[in-house]
C-alpha cells in the first residue's frame, strides 16, 4: 500500500520537472526545484516506513534543511543580479 503511495508521490515529480524545463523565468524553476526537494522529503519518509528503517529519516532532515539553503542562494543571487543591472 505504502509502495503505491511512493509511486503516486514520485509521479508528482513529473509536473515539477516540466515546470523546471518550461520556466519561463528563473524563479519558476527554483520553485519547481524546491517542490522536488519537498517531494524528496516525502519520499524518503515513506521509504522509512516501507523499509522499516529509521535512517531514512535522516535523509529527510538533511534534505529539508539543505534545500532551503539552496533556494535562498538562488534567491539571493537573483536579487543581487537584478539590483546590479538596475544600477
Amino acid at each position: 500500500m505504502m509502495t503505491a503511495l511512493v509511486i503516486l508521490l514520485s509521479l508528482s515529480l513529473v509536473p515539477a520537472f516540466i515546470r523546471l524545463v518550461l520556466g519561463p523565468t528563473l524563479p519558476d524553476r527554483v520553485v519547481a526545484l524546491d517542490l522536488m526537494s519537498t517531494v524528496g522529503v516525502g519520499m524518503t519518509a515513506l521509504l522509512a516506513i516501507i523499509y522499516g528503517r529509521l535512517v531514512f529519516l535522516d535523509i529527510a532532515i538533511v534534505l529539508a534543511l539543505i534545500s532551503f539553503v539552496g533556494t535562498v542562494a538562488f534567491a539571493h543571487y537573483l536579487e543581487r543580479r537584478y539590483r546590479k543591472e538596475r544600477r
Binding site: 529519516l57 535522516d58 532532515i61
Partner: protein, 158 residues
C-alpha cells in the same frame, strides 16, 4: 523568540541529528545550545521578549489551522475546472516595528490562505502581499491585520 526557545529548537535538531530521542542527549544538546547562544548571542541581538506561552501556543494553533485551510483552498483551486482565484497585490500598513516582528509577520502571512508576502517598502511602513483570492483589497487587508498581526502583537508586544 528568545534564547530559551532557540535552545530548545537546537536541542531538537541535535537529537534529530543524533538519531535518538534519548533524554540525556536532548538535555546535553539543550545545554550546549544554551551556552553557545549565551556566549555568541550578544551580537545576534535577540529581541528581548518575555515568553508568553499561551499566546505562542495560540499562534501555533492558529497557524496550523490557517495552513490547512489555505492549502485546501489552493489545492481546490488547482484542480478546479473554473478557478475562483483573483490574484492581486495589496499593501498592508505595518504596526510591528522590530525587525524580528516584521520578519515573523511576513513569514506567517506567507503561510496564510492565499497570501504571500512580497516586499517591505523602504520606509518599513508597508508590507506588500500577493493574495490569491483578493475579492476586495480592503477586506483582505483587514483580515490580515485582524488575524496575524493582532496575534503577533500580542505575542511580541510591538
Amino acid at each position: 523568540m528568545n534564547v530559551f526557545l532557540l535552545s530548545l529548537f537546537l536541542a531538537l535538531l541535535w537529537a534529530g541529528l543524533f538519531g535518538t530521542a534519548d533524554w540525556a542527549v536532548m538535555l546535553f544538546g539543550f545545554v550546549i545550545g544554551f551556552v553557545l547562544l549565551r556566549w555568541i548571542g550578544g551580537p545576534l541581538k535577540f529581541a528581548r521578549v518575555p515568553l508568553r506561552i499561551p499566546q505562542a501556543l495560540g499562534l501555533v494553533i492558529f497557524l496550523f489551522y490557517e495552513l490547512i485551510l489555505s492549502s485546501v483552498r489552493v489545492a481546490r483551486d488547482v484542480v478546479a475546472i473554473r478557478p475562483r482565484r483573483r490574484p492581486g497585490i495589496v499593501g498592508i500598513p505595518l504596526e510591528v516595528e522590530s525587525d524580528a516582528g516584521i520578519m515573523l509577520l511576513a513569514n506567517l502571512i506567507t503561510l496564510t490562505p492565499g497570501s504571500l508576502s512580497l516586499v517591505v517598502s523602504r520606509d518599513r511602513r508597508t508590507l506588500y502581499v500577493h493574495g490569491m483570492f483578493v475579492e476586495d483589497p480592503e477586506a483582505f487587508r483587514s483580515s490580515i491585520k485582524q488575524g496575524f498581526e493582532r496575534l503577533l502583537l500580542r505575542l511580541l508586544g510591538r
